[in-house]
Amino acid sequence: MAKINLVINDRKIETEPGKTILEVAGENRIKIPTLCHDPRLKPYGACRVCLVEVEGARTFLPACATEVIDGMVVKTNTVPLYEIRRTIVELLLSDHELSCVTCESAGQCQLQDLAYELGIEENRFEGEKHTYTIEDYNPLIERDLNKCISCGRCVRICEEVQQNSIYTFANRGFDAIVTTPYDRSLIETKCELCGQCVSTCPTGALTEKMSRYKGRIWEIEKVKTICPYCGCGCELEIQIKNGEIVRVSTDVESGINKGNACAKGRFGYDFVNHPNRLTSPLVRKNGELVETSWDEAIKTVADKFSKIKKKHGSDAIAGLSSAKCTNEENYLMQKFMRAVIGTNNIDHCARL
């Protein structure tokens, strides 16, 4: 592919066409702040903190939405840009419920991080603040509009990625706000509670109810794993505190899912530490299920299969395999049914 050359902050950079300034800067470890950007979504250019100076341009340009061109000279760190970023963050904070002390997102909030980076100790702006009381009685997603910065990421991920379009903006000017159809609770809409919106929200406006007060981001250990639910194989980050799962997150930079996940992957982890979860095999003795060893359990199954096969033939047995298994396990399952049991009665739940 044709190469193009550009300069960012006096550094000469070679790259391919078709990328945005933000992408190229990121690849070269030049940090440009963003709030409304998510690599999973189309460029939106609304928060204006990624504005950069481009030589020859009439105005500042949003790095997230401006493609690089050959010979471009970009500056990301000038005093006027710093001033604008500061003003924008102060403006956002002037209409924000500053409850960072107990906010679920403290430590992983892009607004907090940016305010810190810009060293905003005092806010020059003050005035009316919104106080919304939203009671959304869905079991999973907490919506606190007093922390919403109207970045539109939830609106866009639900539309662009989930194709579900639950959220939209209502009202104009200062009162513009994200809402649901007729202001209803998410469970009264077509929402699938996939949590994609939570995963993209840069602030504490959308958080997981199940994780409330369970653990700060700096207290937890993140373990990357593959989601056990289906054959897609999405990568998940299991967040663990004291040996217990407190939250499941995703990483937009890795895995085949690139940060996306569904309701099961994101919220279906309570079985892991559930008291009713089976941790050893059971066999029925005298009408009662009792714990046993794996050896005995497998032997019992093998004996019973043999008996049935002898009496009724191989086709009296059928196998149904699970999407929670790996490809290899599923392969073995069908091999077992065909070669050992001797039947073609093998199917898979994903076909149902």
Binding site: P43, Y44, G45, A46, C47, R48, L51, T59, F60, P62, A65, P80, E83, I84, T87, I88, L91, L92, S94, D95, R124, F125, G127, E128, I149, S150, G152, T168, F169, N171, R172, G173, F174, D175, A176
Partner: protein, 602 residues
Amino acid sequence: MGKIDVKEEQNRVFICTGTGCILSGADRVNAAFKEEFKKRKISEIDIVQTGCHGFCQQGPIIVIQPEGIFYPMVSAENVARIVEEHLLGGKIIDDLLYKDPSTGEKVPFYKDINFYKKQTRIVLRNCGQIDPEEIDNYIEHGGYEALKKVLSEMTPEEVVEEVKASCLRGRGGAGFPTGIKWDFARKASGDVKYLICNADEGDPGAFMDRSVLEGDPHSVLEGMMIAAYAIGASVGYIYVRAEYPLAVKRLKIAVEHVKKKGFLGKNILGSSFNFEIKIKEGAGAFVCGEETALMASIEGRRGTPRVRPPFPAQSGLWGKPTNINNVETLANIAWIIINGANKFAAIGTEKSKGTKIFAVTGKVKNGGLVEVPMGTSLREVIFDICGGVKDDEEFKAVQIGGPSGGCLPAEFLDTPIDYESLTQTGAIVGSGGMVVMDESSCMVDLARYFLAFTQKESCGKCVPCRVGTKRMLEMLQRMTKGESNEEELVLLENLAQDIKVSSLCGLGQTAPNPVLTMFKYFRKEFEEHVKEGRCRAGVCSELIAYIIKENICKGCGVCKKHCPVGAISGEKKQPHEIDVAKCVKCGICMQHCPFDAIYVAE
């Protein structure tokens, strides 16, 4: 006034039925004429309902043709006299004639009135001259000749070149060269292309597009057809403000008429050109006039602007190449085709060609629509054409370009009105709103008014505009109440600058303009509000008090009777007093005091 030669069969009564005249009673005048004609069994004299004449302050307006006798402010009661004395008697009715406000002389002929004499009417060429609901009337006036010429004699490239050569620039606000825009759209590749006429006109105080649509809708349609032919568009949309019911109605009639004449549809006038026009009523938001928001609105989405590029010419309506032009821009096109680019380019200044319509309102004697060559000075428009400041008060400022524009003081009265000169001052040509102010206008209050508008109309997408204009508005509100300080004055200016350079679309980028120009030219007034708690115009009610001068008050009690909140007390024949705590500062007492004993203290 002498008797003139009136040939009855030629007489026609032109009644203006623009929104302005209808509001001042044109419908009643119209009905009275019909009634009178019926009573007297007159059938040879036509009554023609025309569009707006632009001289809205003088409505209802009637013009008796063919001589062009102008009667302003006609009431239904005057009609019998006009029929009797003028139409039948052939005598001009002296006392109903227009009186020039500066000379005091009667001016019988339409063409001699200063308001019209000094205008150059290209866009408004037919407004007030034809019946906008009759396509044949438009055709009699040379309508659709340009379309015929283009389809039979010119290639699309030649049309684009002609418009380029005319140097016509977009009248919707940004002033982008129309020919160049068409060239982009023409060269863009796409199976379907769209042409959009932006008739959203949301600027408070602007009504030129409305008047053109109401008074001469076909000129806009013809412009659209020529533009569509030039860029290769097969479908056109008119995005028209829903709050303009008369414009919508007349557009619908016009589209029906052109369809019947075969100017729309397939193989128009025997050529290979196909074109249809759809009318889409607006969503009632100022921001929907911004081109990307407008397209979102047509597509049925929330009208919010998006980042450009891609520009509409690359990816517009439903992702297809799209060209968007303003009503006034399009209404120039047929004239340019017929009269030639050179003739158009001969009008105006070096970089701003042709004419521009301004909607002059506020404290001016003869407000209305004024079409002048680019480069005309503000003084000529405000004083020569519009007769100067009302009641001969002192001129204080003129706000040009509405909420996106700037406010200029008297020293700029000789500034030529063109894109470059106005931009240099901090104001803009914009859509052409012009509000004239005298000393009774408070700049801080006016800034607050415009900010309240832009804040309310902000789409809320980007932070500087959504939250920034709110904070600006709050600061200005505090200033009008005397609750601000000098630091805030500096902060306001800084914030205004930041919003200007960091907002996503033109709304936010221009919202600080009124404040910034007022800061530049009327800073003292802001300082007075902040430092001294003083409003020299006596507008900011929390900074003023109404006081009764004891030595002048005769104790007549008139003020007491009129005060709506009972704030005035006093015995008969004794000096009265106003209770400051109760007073709501409506000023009614001052208006009624027969002895001028009440004054405004700052």
